[in-house]
Point group: C2
Chain length 410, copies 2
């Protein structure tokens, strides 16, 4: 059978007693401690290292926000509380999680095109900044603020005329449900300022999951230029600019890691050369996947090993109900293999081509196709890497009644 490559395993994972080890514990030990598979393991050390790399590369003036939607596990949020400058949320459900973690709402901004009135009210009452996505939303926010006697903190999310080239997911450019078309922003900004909002600036998101430094640098230059232009048109100083994110991680064979040093170096230059109207603006970037994606590993156990028409299947107790993106069923056209390995034979020599599948009763439930791996059997543990972001919560956990996976931060 033809071999299909698997994606690149992120740096920083070790072998211990022949097994994959995370934070000094083997996969078997982690599973034993958690009491079950499937299990998501998130690594503090990976998160810390990634933040340190960013702090070293980026200008000190650029703050780092964590996009909670990437991984809203309470322990992950609590860990980020001491590491990042701000938090971006996408719902009042995420706000409640930040409040439970004791995070100051002044550090929080709320984006999303369909904010309900009760969500606006919760955010305004808490003092969260609203990244308003439309004139209608801004009007609702102002009216709710008036009723509460609390001026809403309002930034405007801009739908820019450009986007990150080659971005995995396009969030700007052309007609979009996100943000306010750039030419309509100045009028709306003046209106919300006039009507008593606390002006919090601009949010310009241009894409996500980009691996090209050039594309990100170009987008960041465009964002700074657009922010300067809009600030001049608005006519009041810009308090803050959320420059968006878009930093990608390698998932698939052939993907190369983003050259962060080059992005950082270029950003120094871009900021030095930026318009003086931005001189006093607080700057930040917003990252989710880049901060936590490679820090997570999904462990599941081989329940059956079977051969059908000469093809070997490892059937696990995991699957697309926790790893929808890895199964190739979430916004993907051509399925490719994520980085997948046999955690309990992590230093074993590959000697067999296998299909690793989940336990769901659907042919969509695939974790690795035609992968070249050490021979594994019932009881072995499979690791799917790059599982830290958009895994547990971006998958249909209730599908077929198997329920949620366990999650642990180590």
């Amino acid at each position: 059978m033809k071999i299909k490559p698997v994606g690149p395993i992120p740096a920083g994972y070790d072998v211990l007693n022949g097994e994959l080890a995370i934070g000094g514990q083997t996969a078997s030990e982690l599973v034993r401690a958690a009491g079950k598979t499937p299990l998501f393991v998130y690594s503090r050390a990976h998160i810390d290292r990634r933040i340190a790399e960013l702090r070293a590369a980026l200008p000190a003036r650029v703050g780092i926000n964590y996009a909670v939607k990437a991984n809203p596990h309470p322990d992950v949020i609590a860990h980020f509380a001491g590491l990042v400058d701000g938090f971006d949320i996408a719902s009042s459900g995420e706000l409640a999680k930040l409040q439970a973690a004791g995070i100051d709402p002044a550090r929080v901004s709320f984006a999303g095109p369909g904010k309900r009135d009760d969500e606006l009210e919760a955010a305004i009452a808490a003092g969260v900044t609203l990244n308003c996505e439309s004139a209608g939303e801004a009007a609702r926010a102002l009216s709710i603020g008036q009723r509460l006697g609390t001026p809403p903190r309002i930034a405007i999310r801009v739908n820019p005329d450009f986007e990150i080239k080659g971005s995995g997911m396009k969030m700007g450019g052309g007609a979009k449900q996100f943000g306010v078309d750039q030419e309509l922003v100045p009028e709306l900004a003046r209106k919300v300022i006039d009507e008593g909002a606390v002006w919090r600036g601009l949010h310009i998101f241009t894409g996500s999951q980009a691996l090209s430094a050039d594309a990100i640098i170009e987008a960041q230059g465009n964002v700074l230029n657009l922010a300067a232009q809009l600030t001049q048109e608005i006519g009041v100083p810009l308090p803050k600019l959320n420059m968006g994110g878009g930093f990608g991680i390698p998932y698939f064979p052939g993907d190369e890691a983003l050259d962060l040093a080059r992005v950082g170096e270029a950003l120094h230059g871009l900021i030095d050369a930026a318009s003086p109207v931005l001189a006093d603006a607080e700057l930040c970037i917003e990252l989710g996947r880049y901060l936590v994606g490679e820090a997570g590993v999904y462990l599941c156990r081989v329940i059956d090993r079977k051969v059908s028409h000469g093809v070997t299947f490892l059937v696990t107790d995991g699957g697309l109900h926790h790893q929808l993106a890895a199964s190739g069923n979430f916004g993907t056209v051509v399925r490719r293999n994520y980085p997948v390995a046999i955690a309990t034979r992590y230093d074993g020599e590959a000697d067999q081509v296998v299909n690793v599948v989940g336990c769901l009763c659907t042919p969509l439930d695939r974790l690795a196709d035609q992968a070249w791996m050490p021979t594994a059997d019932v009881g072995d543990i499979v690791a799917v890497f790059c599982a830290g972001a958009y895994g547990a919560t971006a998958s249909p956990a209730d599908f077929l009644g198997h329920g949620a996976a366990a999650e642990v931060l180590v």
Copy 2:
């Protein structure tokens, strides 16, 4: 802007006071009673009518099983308890739901390629039939049965050499994680019988979501022939044959409903002509989507109406976190529109092209693209039809923290 058609609205939905009505209640009334949007509404009348159509079309000898994975809502399960002959489950989580509904485990069979030991134990202890998917699983079941002192009720799921042609999802033919390759079935069947299992027969599943009567008739003929051949090779009478399902429903523009009368008529003939070795076998088909898919409507509310670059967006409080398949992100290559309508302007004249999107902060979250609809505004209710199967539980409800939708059976 170019208009893209929406899928066909299923029969049996009415207009009342200008609104979509389900079970005699308008969309507004249903939402008011539920206290929230988004809301799944499941219609008893639709389910009852579908069952009646099947009973009228199919030979009396053919039982109807409900595949719980299509919609495991407790009220839906309870409603089916009085309508169908058996239930098919895919996990011990689904078993627990049937037990909570007081359903006799003797009516239940359990398929799925990754059954854990604790699931096998729960099923054997309850007296559920296991549709064994491999020799390894059968051995585990026998060993657990011995430990419990309860002979397991075992059927074998067959991986047939054929499948339903043009099936939306292929579950047979070639190398698969499902079932036992047909040539290996007789030996395994004799083994489990010899080792003391209660022999429950064969499960031959050949595909799902097929709209072609010809393809289903051909597959059913092949299933009966294969069952007869395997029964002769096994050498003991066949207690039961689960012939699989595969009956599809129209989701997309141009889809035509399955010609059930023709399937039923052909099945009478196939059974009359079937080998005498099947004369005493209990026969059943297993349906999920066909029983409940068209009986469900997903209602969500318009939160914002905005124009970007000349394109009108209706932003709703619903989205792919409840309607992953409708968004085009679940096993779909080319996105097409489900049947979608403005429930609160159900008899309104279409006069505008709009994009209906969800509230999630991702461009994947689309409910209808370039749809021709009556002008709707904030507060209106959008209906997505064909939402009764693989909706609430086959979607990432925790994504972005908006939480689950409400569900009601009327």
